[in-house]
């Protein structure tokens, strides 16, 4: 696996598992889960500094930006203008041009507004951002995002936080077939096998938050996800056997006592 590194726009990623930092009990638990996941990429959200309680701890005190690639998101943005505003602030607050771009279109499903997403991708790519747009599992929009300058495309496996797994593996396969940029499944993973499925399909990486943070034991689940992603990647590279309806004996018939 050493020579199987994911490289996007010249940035080398050691891990094909990317993890979110939301929903943990505290920063201590966040740091332990990230460590157990073996990931070197963490997503973060952009929010107002708490000016009334200035002593409150900072996430980056627990996740050293020298050790982890900090990938800010535009979560919570429902318009192109808001997403651009958050992205530009994130770039100034952070250390890189990477942005996980979200333009949400619906509160209940948190499905993306793909029209807004496409516009924002185009604008931010022109401004020199390394854009990772979160989108549906739609091959047409995935291609359009790539053409608009996305550095990688991040289709959902299922709604954010739903844990429903990869709902449409066939669409993911079609997206993968056409893509010239990396495809990273973003959202929907519920347990380790879901992450493996995504990787077995040929996805370049998987981003997971709720499935780890919401597990009864987040640290163990983080470790499970680490192995699940490695297993899926190895299986994909190894090339699975075709599915068949009937049995094929794996022991020889020759030499039987007949």
């Amino acid at each position: 696996m050493e020579d199987d590194k994911l490289i996007i726009r010249g940035i080398e990623f050691k891990s094909r598992l990317w993890v979110g930092t939301g929903k943990y009990k505290d920063f201590e638990e966040t740091a332990r889960a990230v460590e157990a996941s073996g990931s070197d990429v963490v997503t973060v959200a952009v929010r107002r500094v708490n000016i009334t309680d200035r002593k409150s701890p900072n996430l980056l005190d627990y996740l050293d930006p020298k050790r982890y690639k900090i990938l800010p998101n535009t979560a919570g943005c429902y318009t192109v203008e808001d997403a651009l505003r958050y992205a530009r602030l994130a770039r100034e607050a952070g250390v890189s041009d990477m942005i996980k771009l979200e333009v949400i279109g619906d509160e209940k499903t948190l499905f993306p507004d793909n029209i807004g997403l496409l516009k924002a991708t185009e604008i931010l790519a022109k401004e020199g951002f390394i854009v990772f747009p979160y989108t549906n599992d739609d091959p047409v929009i995935a291609k359009k995002l790539e053409d608009a300058g996305a550095a990688a495309v991040m289709p959902l496996g299922a709604p954010i936080g739903s844990g429903l797994g990869i709902r449409n593996p066939y669409n993911i396969r079609i997206i993968l077939e056409a893509a010239k940029v990396p495809i990273i499944v973003d959202a929907g993973v519920g347990t380790a096998s879901d992450a493996t499925v995504a990787m077995e399909l040929g996805c370049d990486a998987v981003l997971i938050n709720t499935a780890i943070a919401g597990a009864k034991d987040p640290i163990s689940m983080a470790e499970a996800m680490k192995y699940a992603v490695i297993a899926g990647r190895l299986a994909y590279k190894a090339g699975r056997i075709p599915k068949k309806l009937y049995a094929t004996a794996s022991s020889p018939l020759e030499g039987m006592l007949v």
């Binding site: 973060v44 500094v49 000016i51 602030l89």
Partner: protein, 68 residues
């Protein structure tokens, strides 16, 4: 002279002249945040020379736990 500004959505009075001084008054390290003045992102290097005026709208953001 005391200036009335809007800071992260709240009314705030300050006598500080620049954004960098304001951050220092708030006990915030500039390396960990980004500052927006009247909807424009201010580069970290410019915080020391960016003057605050009465009625300014200032937003100071940082990174918090978040996923997707």
């Amino acid at each position: 002279m005391t200036m009335k500004i809007k800071l992260n959505g709240q009314d705030y009075n300050t006598e500080k002249e620049t954004l960098l001084e304001l951050l220092s008054e708030l006990g915030i390290m500039p390396e960990r945040v980004a500052v927006e003045l009247n909807l424009c992102v201010i580069r970290r290097a410019d915080l020391a020379k960016q003057k605050i005026q009465d009625g300014d709208v200032v937003e100071i953001i940082n990174f918090v736990g978040g996923g997707i």
